[in-house]
Symmetry: C2
Subunit: 139 residues, 2 copies
């Protein structure tokens, strides 16, 4: 199995609300607005939004509700940019989970939650290389 991820699908309760939130972050969806799944090209992979009940069935899991042990992160180039993205996300209808602050691992980060409660860490990690195209390299 090659060492890569092609698609991350977030289960949502209200597709219009979820699409609107990510669009308010400045993201552009692909495909028609009437589709029952929304795709965003995100670098070399795709982020999808889909009905959470259908996603659970398709994923062969039982949906217990709430958080299930997956957190996404969006790395930026400075602590100030962490605060800017958190402000954008809360203005777009997200919830601030943790304000931007220095972290135990030597960086600076905060958390916002999307309208379905999916957490996103917004982080500046001085030890990782963030390329011009947004890709991240360890070390």
């Amino acid at each position: 199995m090659e060492q890569r991820i092609s698609l991350i699908t977030l289960g949502v309760r209200n597709l219009d609300r979820a699409r609107g939130f990510y669009q308010a972050l400045g993201w552009k969806a692909s495909g028609p607005a009437s589709a029952d799944v929304v795709f965003f090209q995100a670098g070399g992979l795709v982020l999808a939004l889909w009905d959470r009940t259908q996603l659970a069935e398709d994923s062969a899991v039982v949906d217990t509700g709430g958080w299930g042990g997956v957190t996404l992160a969006h790395n930026v180039r400075s602590p100030a940019e962490v605060d800017e993205v958190l402000a954008t996300a809360t203005a777009a209808g997200g919830t601030l989970g943790r304000a931007g602050a220095e972290t135990f691992w030597g960086g600076y980060s905060g958390i916002f939650l999307d309208p379905d409660g999916h957490p996103w860490e917004v982080a500046h990690n001085p030890d990782w290389t963030l390329a011009e195209d947004g890709s991240v390299r360890l070390g």
Copy 2:
């Protein structure tokens, strides 16, 4: 906020078991085996494994247990390769959630669950372009 994802962290109950599973898939971890977080470079982003309780606290969420509405997918180049990856994953200690089969969207996919119950869809989507470097492009 730029349209990209830097890091996906999976919360795990037993880090050695989880690291061993992904290594048995053929993935190579970065950093020392003694670290309390395991990183895998996965194309332009990073997949991390970390203690689920610590991840919940760090993510400003309550952990309700079980699945929480996030499914990852790994796209491959043919239906036969879907079956091969599912066989690799079950041989490595994963659980088959759904055997490879034709899907309602015109592709072929199956599901395996890692030792912590995180579902991975393994898919062949004839409508998406899979580049030689493994990156995926819509359309």
